[in-house]
Symmetry: C3
Subunit: 316 residues, 3 copies
């Protein structure tokens, strides 16, 4: 018995089939229009937010890939690049990134601007924000070099620094975070979040763009790591997979809405190591050089040089 | 010392090299043929299943991306779409999706059909299934609007509903799940599973297409969440990363094979919150408005409004 | 109120704007050049490693996708392939893969070779390594067939073996691992790691290419699984999501550097099942046919047929 190939074949359709299909599509198109209308009425009472253009996921992804290539041309840039052509590639790519990022920044500023200023004003502001970001890239590169070294020296399975740079998910997530954090601080939370979620999807590491992270940071393996918006992490900190730096519970205001923006995530001081699966919640402080064992559940501050493990917690 | 460029260079090959390479390839091709033959003999005793065409991952991914764009044209559709052209875009895309999905549905029906009915009968059935699915899209959109609102109000870090829609992995996974569930219920488990795994790969959230999920559902962060085939979730439920709604242990029939399809995953009633890392196993019921704390391990039912935490479990 | 379209519009720029932008780009290009120079001086004291070409992520990804299609042509190959053309497809693709993989292997051998041998010698070695790998493919296919059967019989939600093959992340990760492990053993750790991280990104399953894994292995769901470099896993072993087979703590040598390559991950004997979230650390042995319960934390060996659960650990 032969299985007939169905792909690509233009099946002869009955006239009635086509008519019915058309009427379904017309009806569904109309009902979807109504659903969008109701949603927009419900949401955009004051301003027609629903029909404003947003920054594009795809455009931001392209910009970020270019920024990675600009920061590490021979490792994350085009495969046929040679050392002699690095500067030309970097200068040319910076120009391209600058233009596209100004466009996307304008979209976010327009979207967020409830007073609907003139576009020219916003475009000028966007140009300034993007210029500042580009100016920070050399310092960012030096920070990332420290992160790469931290990964290499923190993992006995690493064979060389270049392996770490091109293949470690923790490094990939951190390059994205340091870019996203700069944009978040510049007042562009939506673009920043798009960048963070690009890294989250690729690595399973979920760092909110608002989180503040010191130098020489290393996340090994990384899947399931969550670092919240107001977390503050010192220098030379090391985390493993499934570590959560989260909030305990959210405050509600008098209307029952959640209070936004309050410090609600942990402070992790310099030289702390946190092993896989540890959950650390609330605005508490993990003192300098502490070691938090795997799967530990922690909701209170610990002093410097603490050694916390599941067993020691049970003995208290 | 110069590192020679190896890429793209056509190396002059010795005649003997080429001969040896050819003989390796011929031998390996033949051994692979034999391996496929043995596998098919072993599997497809009755029917030549191994040579039947299956639905295509790539085709299904394209259909799902189009459906996302149809449901939210200005947010998940093409970046240059304007409000004025939304209806045209939706109607046109519905037609495209309808055609491709009928082809893929036929492939699954043919594959699954042990009696090998005439293709025309299956094509007719496929057309009906796909028409029904398209008819459900407006109701689906309204459900998803509730999910977006649930995400916005459930996360203090969310700046606006549009940020939630375009960047939250929990929302992305849920759009995919609600589509996959409709196809699963229509008797298309393979297409449904392809959709579920597309979302799982992008978000780390693994929801079996068979799971039943009520309105206003929100998963925050999401990496590591697993929701099993027969789980039933009520309205306004909220989950965090690494929550498992799983099975305890599988029943085997008299031949030692696993019994398929039995209810074996939890029932979670309305207004329940389950914090990160909680593992809930077996056909138990989490009563209405209960709060299950982080990392809790639960294999027995709890009544409405329970507050379960690791500590309270130890005190029992 | 009209939201102005910003995309693609060529904004008239002030002469001064353009000048300023150019000077920023020139300055940043120069500072980035300096940062690269400092990094390379710091790293490549003896050899100019930083400017050597590395294997390309994109090229390796293409090779691996082709190898998947060669191993399972009708399921992971091109959608329009028919049974009659399978052999031609396999033979042709093997030739393509052979050529590209020799190029990438040369790049890794050149990069790693501190003595900088003649390229022709390395090319010959690369040809031999790649030929050996291709010769192993039929045995690899038979191993993977066993893995597919193990997944099908280990999951009550699986409807057919083909669903398992095309959609299960555990199977996807294992195809990649078995290829990566062969390359790791051939002395190509960077290419092997690129393959492992491709699977890690797609599935959330992080298996180091060095890990040794027996026949009929199944990982269900899989997100968050970590299997370390020196882990040894027997036949018919089953794991669930978030299981870690990791190292306890790393030894440092007299200079404070981590000792690389030492056996430091668990040995898991035949027929063991390890449920979700279990963490097993150090060079310990899990005896034959043991069952390790969910969320168990284990740092000491257990004898054959042990049944370990959280409760039983507390009773000790």
């Amino acid at each position: 018995m032969k299985t007939p190939s169905l792909k690509g074949a233009a099946h002869p359709r009955e006239e009635s089939d086509l008519k019915q299909e058309k009427s379904v599509i017309d009806r569904v198109t109309n009902e979807l229009r109504l659903a969008r209308h109701n949603w927009r009425e419900h949401q955009g009472r004051e301003l027609d937010l629903g029909s404003r253009e947003l920054p594009s996921n795809q455009a931001i992804h392209n910009v970020v890939d270019s920024l990675c290539a600009i920061l590490f041309p021979m490792r994350l840039g085009p495969p046929d690049l040679t050392k002699e052509r690095e500067n030309h590639f970097v200068a040319y790519s910076l120009g391209t990134v600058e233009r596209e990022l100004v466009v996307q920044t304008c979209l976010e500023l327009c979207y967020a601007d409830r007073n609907q200023q003139a576009t020219e004003t916003l475009r000028h502001e966007a140009g300034k924000l993007v210029g500042d970001l580009i100016g920070e890239l050399p310092a960012l590169r030096r920070k990332l070099d420290d992160d790469v070294l931290a990964a290499y020296s923190g993992d006995p399975a690493a064979t060389c620094v270049d392996e770490v740079l091109i293949s470690y998910p923790g490094v990939h997530a951190l390059i994205h975070h340091r870019l996203a954090h700069a944009l978040y601080q510049a007042g562009l939370p939506i673009i920043a979040r798009i960048i963070a979620e690009k890294a989250h999807s690729a690595t399973g590491i979920d760092i909110h763009p608002g989180a503040t992270i010191g130098r020489s940071f290393f996340i090994d393996h990384g899947t399931g790591v969550v670092i919240g918006e107001t977390a503050v992490i010192g220098d030379r900190v090391r985390l493993y997979q499934n570590v959560t730096l989260g909030a305990v519970r959210f405050k509600e205001d008098e209307t029952g809405s959640l209070t936004k923006g309050e410090p609600r995530h942990p402070i992790v001081e310099d030289d702390v190591v946190i092993y896989a699966g540890a959950t650390i919640l609330g605005r508490i402080t993990i003192g300098r050089a502490s070691v938090i064992g795997g799967n530990v559940w922690l909701t209170q501050s610990v002093p410097a040089e603490s050694q916390i493990s599941q067993a020691s917690l049970q003995q208290r």
